[in-house]
């Protein structure tokens, strides 16, 4: 409890400070936020280099995450998690049905591509609009309750959408098989040959177009789709920073720390939480639209409640309520899903080959359940550890490590200072 109150107090002072400096910063961001944004932007732009640190053909090449499909997932699920964090991280309302908005966005996008144009921009706009409308309806009803009831209401809505998409709405959703672009689709504004299957493009640039650059043994892939998704991610990240530092963001934090007190002061908090809900639903819709833009197909399993659970995992793992946490969490889970799941016993034997046979076999035996298909087990354990020991997620972990180093520095420089600090700690 005491932890929480100090937390909110710290949070409360920060936006006020930023508000005072607002006009001075570039893009309306203050020094620290601007630094964070620039770092994230650089990382996203240089991702094809950063994620491919190992030369092609080396033993470690399988840890390279720099292929287009995975990089696209990083940014798309990053957007999804940023949006979820606006609701959960700021207001504390835990939605277990966010995948429904992602699904609605996806369906809207693919219909736009089937009917109007293969350009991704209208599809993405429609996915945001539809997800926003759906979130407005669901949020208006669900936000009448809070706590666990809210979680169950959102869960119920999402499961309903999934069940309906799977069965009755088959004419719209394609049922179990989902929807794909087919040769029979003739979008109004795109000139396609009679048997040509359309491909998503951005004003003529094919989303799958890639430029490969070989430097020595290294191979870097620059994919058009990735960069378009990355631009959207940076845009959403920027908006999220502005939202976190705005008076509106303050209001949402107040809802999290003590909604009752807000109501007693005569303030109706529901419009604020509803706005947060719709915004985060629109983020999910954007993520859904981008998924379709990258890979033109949708299936109802995208809306299943475990998909909603995944975004919860991402946000908590990275650090709910922090700016960068959700993106980190999304990246981490998607990396595990695609890379850890590929490690098998043969690879483990290679790694531990330098050890005596008995120990080698034993180590492989111990690690075996956690790799390959067992990556979910690793994820579950990691998630539990984070919830138990690091409620602030990986971001808090990083801060703690950083503070340990900082404390060491002060100890070596001035003994007095550290003594004072210790006194403070004992208090």
């Amino acid at each position: 409890m005491t932890d929480q109150t100090t937390d909110t107090r710290m949070d409360a002072t920060r936006p006020r400070a930023s508000a005072a400096h607002k006009s001075s910063g570039l893009l309306g961001l203050t020094g620290k936020d601007l630094g964070l944004f620039i770092i994230v932007a650089l990382l996203t732009i240089l991702a094809p280099f950063i994620l491919n640190p190992f030369p092609e053909g080396s033993a470690l090449a399988q840890f390279n995450g720099g292929y287009p499909d995975l990089m696209q997932r990083f940014v798309i699920f990053g957007i999804f998690a940023i949006g979820f964090n606006i609701l959960f991280g700021l207001t504390g309302y835990l939605s277990f049905g966010h995948a429904a908005f992602l699904g609605v966005g996806s369906y809207a996008a693919i219909w736009m591509m089937k009917l109007l144009t293969l350009n991704v921009i209208p599809a993405i706009i429609m996915s945001i609009v539809f997800a926003g409308i759906f979130a407005l309806v669901v949020g208006y009803i669900s936000l009448r309750r809070s706590g666990i009831y809210f979680s169950i209401l959102t869960l119920a809505f999402a499961q309903m959408s999934y069940a309906l998409a799977y069965s009755v709405l088959t004419p719209i959703t394609g049922g179990e098989t989902g929807l794909q672009l087919k040769a029979t689709d003739t979008p109004l504004l795109s000139n396609l040959g009679p048997t040509e299957i359309g491909r998503a493009n951005f004003f003529g640039v094919d989303m799958r177009a890639s430029y490969e650059m070989a430097i020595g043994d290294w191979l870097f892939t620059f994919n058009a789709g990735y960069y378009i998704a990355a631009v959207f991610m940076l845009l959403s990240f920027y908006l999220a920073i502005r939202l976190f530092r705005s008076p509106f963001g303050m209001m949402l934090r107040a809802v999290k720390s003590n909604q009752q007190r807000m109501n007693y002061t005569g303030l109706n908090s529901r419009p604020y939480t509803l706005a947060a809900f719709v915004i985060s639903g629109m983020y999910a819709g954007l993520a859904g639209g981008l998924m379709v833009a990258m890979d033109t197909q949708v299936g109802p399993e995208r809306m299943f409640w475990t998909a909603s659970g995944e975004v919860v995992l991402m946000t908590i793992l990275g650090g709910a309520g922090t700016l960068i946490g959700p993106v980190l969490g999304a990246g981490m889970i998607k990396y595990m899903e695609n890379i850890v799941s590929k490690i098998n016993d043969g690879i483990l034997h290679q790694w531990f080959a330098f050890m005596p046979d008995g120990i080698e076999d034993f180590l492989v035996f111990v690690i075996h359940p956690f790799i390959g298909k067992g990556w979910h087990l690793t994820l579950g354990l990691l998630f539990m550890l984070v919830v138990i020991f690091l409620p602030g997620g990986l971001v808090e972990g990083g801060q703690r490590i950083a503070s340990v180093f900082r404390r060491k520095e002060t100890k070596t420089s001035t003994v007095e200072k550290s003594a004072a600090e210790q006194q403070q700690h004992s208090e």
Partner: protein
């Protein structure tokens, strides 16, 4: 009319499963105030207790002497494996034991589930009493994933058939009893067994809480934990045991459910969402509410899957439970039988 009776009967077995899981869930919530997202996993562990016992009983050795299936020096499938049980007790008794592995698994599951429950409460959930509900949901959700993956690792991803004893395999012509033509209302024996079993368990839990000193203390603790603690009673220990009992109830529900649906590793997650909805409809923390809502929703679901109803409202069978939950939550958030003020804003 016969159709309606059939649907009520069909709803009973699913309703029994909902009621049992929701009973344990609400028992945990009422005593410890913890929202347990790993409860579905306990149901699944129970089911896999049955699978484990079945496998243990079928453990055998290759009998060199007996080559039963050799025709003209050509043996089919190699040497016959004789289960140890048949070797020790003779073929007839041993065969019966193997045949009855699912009911026998109840005896096996009770200690296992007790241990799992105590380990879970002492090892993990104890540390989450003071943390917000969201944290409890998250950590138990993580635990559910872990348990599910462990089971998947040892038993594989495919459903494992665990048949009911031969005596219960057939169906039972219920229609004849109440004056309908034969074969209009037939009901599998095992589902009847499951329903009776559920009623026994529910009665046992209520009887335990109502008529024993232990139960009385637990009820007092549910009403006012602090005062009971001040009276010098170690309420924590009792609540731990209640958690173990709740785990047991879920586990036994899982054991007996295996012949109805072959167990697979995600059956817990499938039931979890629905049983939460059941708890909410019944009223958070209300034990009779959980049972009532379990049966009501089970029957309602089977009514909604009648062809006549689906013709009028397509897809209703898929969403009826969620729809009911939404309506209840919006109009009467304390649920059907919940006390005023429990988890209400």
């Amino acid at each position: 009319m016969d159709g309606l009776i059939l649907q009520i009967l069909n709803g009973l077995d699913k309703g029994s499963a909902y009621a049992l899981i929701a009973l344990g869930l609400t028992l945990i919530f009422g005593t410890l105030g913890v929202v347990n997202f790993a409860h579905g996993a306990l149901f699944m562990i129970g089911a896999f207790c049955a699978v484990t016992l079945q496998r243990i009983l079928n453990l055998g050795f290759v009998d060199e002497g007996a080559t039963s299936s050799s025709v003209g020096g050509f043996s089919f499938g190699g040497a016959q494996e004789t289960p140890y049980v048949e070797h020790w007790f003779g073929e007839a008794v041993g065969g019966t034991i193997i045949d009855w592995s699912v009911p026998l698994a109840i005896l096996f599951a009770i200690p296992v589930m007790m241990l799992v429950g105590i380990a879970m409460e002492r090892g993990l959930i104890k540390h989450f009493y003071k943390r917000p509900h969201a944290d409890q949901i998250l950590v138990t959700f993580g635990l559910a994933i872990v348990l599910q993956e462990v089971v998947k690792f040892y038993f594989g991803a495919n459903p494992i058939p665990t048949p009911a004893p031969d005596a219960f395999t057939g169906s039972f012509d219920f229609g004849v009893l109440i004056g309908y033509d034969p074969f209009t209302i037939v009901y599998p024996y095992w589902r009847l067994v499951y329903f009776v079993f559920a009623m026994v368990i529910i009665a046992a839990v209520f009887g335990f809480l109502q008529f024993t000193t232990f139960g009385m203390v637990v009820r007092a603790g549910m009403a006012d934990r602090e005062t009971v603690g001040l009276l010098g009673i170690d309420i924590d220990k009792r609540f731990t045991i209640m958690f173990a009992i709740a785990a047991c109830v879920a586990g036994l529900a899982g054991v007996m459910y295996t012949p109805i649906n072959s167990p697979n590793y995600h059956m817990g997650m499938d039931f979890l969402v629905l049983s939460f909805v059941v708890v909410v409809v019944g009223g958070m923390g209300s034990l009779p509410g959980a049972v009532l809502a379990g049966f009501l929703l089970g029957i309602l679901e089977s009514f909604a899957s009648m062809a006549e109803v689906i013709d009028i409202v397509p897809g209703i069978n898929q969403i009826i439970i969620y729809l009911v939950a939404i309506v209840i939550l919006l109009t009467r958030p304390r649920g059907l039988m919940g006390r005023k003020g429990v988890m209400e804003e």
